[in-house]
């Protein structure tokens, strides 16, 4: 859906998406890195389980909700990636203890 421009010379950052290593770039938000990964990163909604992807990328729509380093319901579009970050695609509502 998206590709990186060749002029982007930022250093790579490795994150893990559902346990699989994914190459991101320093300064990417979690949502941008997920959309750039080419993987199926659709979450499912808490209400009907419908699949969704980020819609606004600016912190207002909450369609980018994702589990980051064990904490659920994070807005992936507002969080920068960090080396070794563990991302889980959130299916349904946030679980107790996450």
């Amino acid at each position: 859906m998206f590709k990186r421009s060749e002029q982007d010379k930022r250093p790579p950052v490795q994150i893990f998406v559902d346990g699989v290593a994914v190459a991101a770039r320093q300064g990417d938000t979690v949502s941008a890195a997920l959309l750039a990964s080419g993987r199926d990163v659709r979450r499912s909604t808490a209400v009907s389980g419908a699949p969704r992807l980020p819609y606004c990328m600016m912190g207002v729509c909450f369609d980018c909700l994702v589990t980051i380093d064990g904490v659920g319901n994070r807005q992936g579009c507002l969080v920068p990636v960090a080396e070794g970050m563990q991302i889980e695609i959130q299916k349904g509502k946030r679980e107790i203890g996450k």
Binding site: D8, A50, P54, C56, M58
Partner: protein
């Protein structure tokens, strides 16, 4: 790295580091007032100047000269003594000018003598059938990815809607080597006539030449369909095609990505939750705060600058930021204010920056069918409530957005009405034959962004706070 505000009290707290916030904070710091700038994003810039200090797009001309103006604003801010905290989510503001802010998972309060809200704008909801499908995003979302991560669409891409941002985004995508298959222009033909009385101001404004050049650049490379009167995203769990009607003819084109845009509206949540009076703006079709000429709101000590004060664009936002900050400096330190640019100069700059805006507002006024959906089209994305659900609720007695919450939970999901509020107001106004002003809006309350109960419970407490709730 997590930084928190170094003090509990400031002369001046600015919320939002976009054009208005950057200018306001720099002005107040220049006047020697203790100034705190809180911003939710990773770096300064807001939306227009997003990632201005970190963008990987090195070919400057690809983003355009208007973008790089932001670098000067950031430089001016950094030259002063403003304390800037990024990734700071303000979730509360009250009449005592006490601000609740969440930073790195922990919350605290700071108190201000003056607050400037520069929370900017968000894209108007575009509730068409299928707009919740993966693969449908806002044009602003694509632009955010382009500026901050140099990411461009490379699948089959359709851009639909209207307004200046749409053409700028299209040009930027093409310059960075991205793909656009078709642009579907939803501008209503009648709007061209309605906008005519404002044409002279527009033709003599900087918008005209820039806009024309952008449209030429894009039209040379992309097929543009105008007069699009119906629009739907189609797919099963993922966008597969875009269906539209133009000139009475229906067409369906395969698509991986649909980018929607029909203008921007003030981001009102924090101001409304603070109790600032807002009125329905019949031209811009949104809620705007009631402000005096310096941006002061109905609440003593709270001013609003930038697009949150009513849509005026980035250049106007910068000047409004300076005007609001100057007025606040005058109230707190009149001697220091005398050294700032005179108000008359700033007002003249604002008038210049706002030239042509009425033309744009009229020309790009979105059509009713793209604002007020029907049938199974989702209105509230969070709670997945359709237009029919809302009309059914009206039929059995729901009178306004706040009653509707009890019937259907609209606006009660995590986005707190940001993506459905305007649609709900207009839909209910139409169904009940009332004006949007009479129908009203959701009653917004803190926290205006979700925080956990644990975070709330862990907020530092004074002895008085404890006394207020402990017996004996």
């Amino acid at each position: 790295m997590t930084t928190t505000p170094s003090r509990e009290n400031y002369d001046f707290v600015v919320i939002g580091a976009g054009p208005a916030g950057l200018a306001a904070a720099a002005t107040s710091a220049e006047a020697g007032l203790s100034t705190l700038l809180l911003d939710e994003n990773i770096g300064p810039g807001g939306q227009v100047f997003r990632a201005i200090a970190s963008t990987p797009v090195t070919a400057r001309e690809q983003l355009g000269t208007d973008y790089w103006v932001g670098a000067d604003l950031v430089q001016a801010l950094r030259a002063g003594n403003t304390e800037v905290v990024q990734r700071a989510t303000v979730w509360s503001l009250d009449r005592n000018l006490e601000i609740g802010v969440s930073i790195g998972g922990g919350s605290s309060f700071v108190k201000a003598r003056r607050v400037i809200l520069a929370t900017g704008a968000l894209e108007r909801p575009f509730p068409i059938p299928g707009w919740t499908l993966p693969g449908v995003m806002t044009a602003g979302a694509a632009q955010t990815m382009l500026k901050s991560s140099a990411l461009v669409p490379d699948g089959r891409t359709v851009i639909a809607g209207q307004g200046p941002l749409l053409w700028l985004l299209a040009a930027q995508i093409l310059r960075l080597g991205g793909r656009i298959d078709r642009i579907l222009d939803t501008t209503e033909r009648g709007n061209y006539f309605a906008a005519l009385p404002h044409a002279f101001a527009f033709l003599t404004s900087p918008y005209f030449a820039k806009g024309l050049a952008l449209m030429r650049e894009v039209r040379a490379k992309v097929q543009v369909v105008s007069g699009v009167a119906e629009l739907a995203a189609v797919g099963d769990g993922q966008l597969a095609s875009v269906s539209y009607v133009a000139g009475g003819k229906r067409e369906t084109i395969p698509a991986d990505l649909l980018l929607l845009h029909q203008g921007v509206v003030p981001n009102v949540n924090l101001a409304m939750a603070a109790g600032v009076e807002h009125r329905w703006n019949e031209l811009q079709l949104c809620w705007s705060p009631v402000l005096d000429a310096s941006g002061n709101s109905s609440i003593e000590g709270i001013a609003i600058a930038g697009d949150g004060a009513g849509i005026g664009g980035a250049t106007a936002a910068v000047v409004r930021g300076r005007i609001a900050a100057r007025a606040a400096v005058e109230a707190l330190a009149p001697v220091a204010a005398a050294k700032l640019p005179p108000l008359a100069t700033l007002r003249a700059e604002l008038a210049k920056a706002e030239r042509g805006r009425a033309f744009l507002d009229t020309l790009f006024r979105p059509s009713p069918q793209f604002r007020i959906p029907s049938g199974d089209t989702i209105v509230c994305r969070c709670e997945e409530v359709t237009a029919k659900d809302i009309l059914d609720a009206v039929a059995i007695g729901a009178t306004g957005p706040n009653q509707l919450k009890a019937y259907r939970r609209t606006g009660m999901g995590p986005c707190q009405g940001r993506l459905c509020g305007l649609t709900v107001t207009e839909l209910m106004a139409q169904a009940r034959a009332k004006s949007p002003q009479e129908i009203g809006y959701y009653r917004l309350r803190a926290p205006v962004k979700p925080i956990t109960l644990a975070e709330l419970a862990a907020v530092p407490k004074s002895e008085d706070d404890v006394k207020a709730v402990v017996r004996g």
